[in-house]
């Protein structure tokens, strides 16, 4: 209703002008009808007036003829008929002139009031002259033998009045003709005026309409320009998504940049998304959009389900480039309470995601630093310092190895084994001291080494990841060094074996927890107020490897132990004792499954390293020696604590370096004891 009023209001002048134009046209049309009727009536009057004169003359002539025929005794029927006809026609013409049809209405009065008065006067005078004559002639009509006297009286009257009647009829005719011409002129003037008015009105309509149209066009043009400017400068992507899933024609230019390619009108959003995001996300997004087009669903309620609220965009950001993230927001556009389209807004949220990620990274780093600080503060500073020196030395050796190795497959293979040993030693020591970040980085380095050790033909290009992994490991050590240097101001160095054994106990618990085993740690140590360097090295580098092996390989799971008639909880014991000849003995004992020679033989055959016959011929000593070869492991799969086949390789290298001796005693399903003998 309001819109209808508004519409009429907007075009009110135009509607009035058009209505006026129609009224004028209709008026001219009606006036034409009237004018033609008036001209017809005037013509009829002029004719009737002319007939009065003619019939008056005929009547006079017929009366004179009748009188003559009566005198001559001639037949009078013809004359009587002529008198009758002339009389009747005269009266008829008179009646015609007296009739006021079409000439006595308001318009006629307005057009020619004076002329009508004159006409009426002339007609009255004709009737005045006619009435006596009519009264004389009427008795003669219908009589077979009229009296001569009556005829003579009629002749006398007609002779006396005919001239006057003719004169009056003539005057009337002239008057009517003059008046008809004048009336026609006036009618023409009125018609011309009306048509001119109609034309003026038409011109007004055209002017008004064109002006309104131009104004409307200008408003539309300005609105269009404004829309274009807005869409051109809008940083966000903005477009309408039609119900058929196609992208509308009005959209912001930035959309092309956001999508990384030109967007076409009518392009389906599902196709656009398929090129932009992962297939799973695109499929979920298609379902979500479909849901939004349901009339009863409110978009606000589904915001949390929006799979595109923050989505990584495919195409860029790979191969080291920064990956972009987009955020899509959907608003329902309703018409008659039905969802006609979706207004989609697209933002580039890469910066927010990056900042959030940076913040999370910074928080994570802070947390790690705090953990590292707490770990450093919780450890014996002497052990941490010794670990750092040892690890940094190894890193330097590893980098020198990378730098100096000859580009030959055999040299590369030897280097890989050395890198493995160094990394494994760092990992073991780090884990013993509870420096998880360093241990994880060392494990990651080992992950890089594993495929290379299996590969027979290594190229220099394949070694690039090693340098990167080494850098990562070095960074973690530098971080630890930084924390240690700060913390060392507060830490108090501890003395004797206790701190070392506590570290080993902590490691035992940690490995047992990781591998879901129940283990009790026991330590039996001689009183040693000062640790000899050789013993300290064994405790730092060898014992953690042996303890890890004892828990990972020796101690069975609780179920397995119960089935074997053992307590569910396994035992790992570390003993340090003085022996004769200034020898120090360090042993790691566990009550696990022991080392089974037959299992080793089977493993050798299964792995294809030996034939069944060769394996059968091998002595237990030879078999146990295999445990110290690089890459040999009894574990089926690798985990952070076992399976690389490096631990005992490291031990062998250490024993050789320190000039120590190693003894192994084992009984299957009963125990294993590794004993290291070193000079104090």
């Amino acid at each position: 209703m309001n819109s209808a009023t508004g519409l009429l209001g907007k075009y009110r002048d135009l509607v009035i002008a058009i209505a006026l134009f129609l009224v004028l046209d209709l008026g001219v049309l009606l006036f034409n009808f009237y004018a033609s009727g008036r001209i017809e009536a005037d013509t009829s009057k002029i004719n009737a007036s002319g007939e009065l004169r003619m019939y008056s003359q005929q009547l006079a002539k017929a009366l004179l003829t009748l009188a003559q025929e009566l005198r001559d005794g001639m037949p009078i029927q013809t004359s009587q008929a002529q008198i009758s006809e002339s009389h009747a026609n005269f009266r008829k013409a008179l009646a015609e002139l007296a009739r006021r049809d079409g000439r006595d209405d308001a318009i006629a009065q307005w057009l020619s009031r004076e002329a009508l008065a004159n006409e009426a006067d002339l007609l009255r005078r004709i009737e005045t002259y006619w009435q006596p004559l009519d009264g004389t002639v009427v008795p003669l009509l219908g009589k077979e033998n009229p009296e001569a006297i009556d005829v003579e009286i009629a002749v006398t009257k007609v002779v006396a009045r005919n001239i006057k009647l003719m004169q009056l009829a003539n005057d009337l005719t002239q008057h009517l003709e003059t008046e008809a011409v004048a009336t026609a002129g006036r009618l023409r003037s009125i018609q011309i005026t009306a048509i001119l008015l109609a034309l003026v009105n038409f011109a007004f309509i055209v002017f008004k309409f064109v002006r309104a149209l131009r104004r409307s066009d200008r408003v539309a043009e300005v609105a269009h320009e404004e829309t274009d400017e807005i869409l051109a400068t809008l940083r966000e992507g903005l477009f309408l998504l039609n119900a058929d899933g196609s992208i509308g024609s009005q959209r912001s230019l930035s959309l092309d940049n956001l999508f990384g390619r030109p967007v076409r009108t009518g392009e389906r959003l599902s196709d656009t998304l398929a090129a932009l995001v992962e297939p799973d996300t695109a499929a979920v997004a298609a379902d979500y959009v479909e849901l939004l087009f349901k009339d009863r669903i409110k978009a606000g309620l589904l915001d949390q389900l929006n799979p595109l609220s923050e989505v990584a965009v495919r195409g860029e950001g790979e191969d080291g480039r920064q990956r972009r993230h987009l955020s899509f927001a959907f608003d329902q556009v309703r018409k008659d309470n039905k969802v006609a389209a979706l207004l989609v807004t697209v933002h580039d949220v890469s910066e927010q995601v990056r900042l959030r990620s940076e913040l999370a990274g910074a928080e994570e780093q802070l947390r790690r630093d705090v953990d590292l600080l707490l770990a450093v503060l919780d450890r014996d500073p002497g052990l941490v310092a010794a670990f750092l020196v040892s690890a940094e030395e190894k890193i330097e050796l590893m980098n020198a190895d990378l730098q100096q190795v000859e580009p030959e497959a055999s040299a590369y293979a030897g280097m890989i084994d050395r890198l493995f040993r160094h990394t494994h030693a760092i990992k073991g020591e780090a884990a013993t001291l509870g420096f998880g970040t360093v241990a994880r980085e060392a494990h990651a380095f080992e992950d890089r080494l594993v495929p290379l050790r299996r590969s027979g033909n290594i190229s220099g290009k394949e070694l690039i990841p090693l340098a990167v992994a080494l850098s990562g490991l070095r960074e973690q050590l530098e971080r630890l060094r930084g924390v240690y240097d700060k913390a060392s101001n507060f830490a108090r160095p501890a003395q004797g074996l206790d701190p070392v054994l506590r570290q080993i106990e902590r490691l035992t618990r940690h490995v047992a927890q990781d591998l879901d085993k129940q283990v009790r740690f026991e330590a039996v140590a001689a009183h040693l107020p000062v640790l000899p360097e050789s013993l300290a090295t064994l405790l730092r580098e060898a014992v953690p490897q042996l303890v890890r092996n004892a828990v990972a390989h020796g101690i069975e799971s609780a179920e397995e132990r119960l089935r074997a008639g053992k307590p569910a909880e396994g035992r790992v014991r570390v003993e340090v004792e003085r022996q004769a000849g200034d020898i120090l003995a360090v042993s790691v004992w566990d009550d696990g499954r022991g080392i089974c020679a037959d299992s080793l033989r089977r493993q050798l055959v299964d792995s294809g390293r030996k034939s069944t016959e060769e394996a059968a011929r091998m002595s237990e000593r030879d078999l146990f020696a295999l445990l110290f070869e690089p890459g040999f492991s009894t574990a089926a799969t690798a985990n952070p604590h076992a399976g690389r086949g490096v631990g005992l390789d490291v031990l062998r290298e250490l024993v050789a370096r320190l000039g120590a001796r190693l003894k192994i005693a084992t009984v299957p399903n009963s125990y294993t004891r590794f004993t290291l003998l070193v000079k104090a």
């Binding site: 191969d319 080291g320 480039r321 990056r354 730098q403 590369y412 220099g460 850098s471």
Partner: protein, 157 residues
């Protein structure tokens, strides 16, 4: 701004560019040797001729190719050159730096602002390290000569 560590792929893209240069310019591929970490404090550039690109725009650092004169002379010979002036030797490392620049742009995207490749001779031209991350050296061996690719970049995380 936070930077992420270089990934192996970030370094490989440059080593492949060098390999490609030798394979196409001399028909003899260069042998990539084991990459290693350049210790802090060691000079980044250390050979007779050095081609360097400096990068910016969300990134920081440089990529350089450093080679002895003898290697470059041999390369010139294989390329059919008769002119063995310093300028010609510089042109070779400059061309390699240009190739590195193209690869860097393709790999890291348009956000990477790369300086005009610079080529200069002499071991004394110190390059101020612009990146804080670890610099890597990737040695190449070609016909018994040793050259080095150095990648020292901070990449926007």
């Amino acid at each position: 701004m936070s930077y992420r560590s270089l990934r192996p792929a970030d370094i490989e893209v440059f080593s492949e560019a060098i390999s490609h240069f030798f394979a196409t310019a001399t028909s003899d591929p260069a042998q990539v040797r084991s990459a290693y970490v350049i210790e802090r404090g060691d000079p980044i550039l250390w050979n007779d001729y050095n081609g360097v690109i400096n990068v910016d725009g969300g990134f920081a650092g440089c990529v350089a190719f450093s080679a002895p004169r003898s290697l470059l002379s041999h390369v010139l010979l294989r390329m059919g050159e008769q002119d063995f002036t310093d300028e010609k030797h510089r042109d070779i490392v400059g061309e390699i730096a240009n190739i590195l620049s193209g690869r860097a742009r393709r790999h890291f995207g348009e956000g990477l602002s790369i300086s005009t490749p610079a080529a200069f001779c002499g071991r004394d031209n110190a390059v101020t390290p612009r990146a804080r991350s670890t610099p890597y050296a990737i040695p190449f061996r070609w016909h018994g000569y040793d050259a080095d690719l150095v990648v020292h970049l901070d990449v926007l995380a």
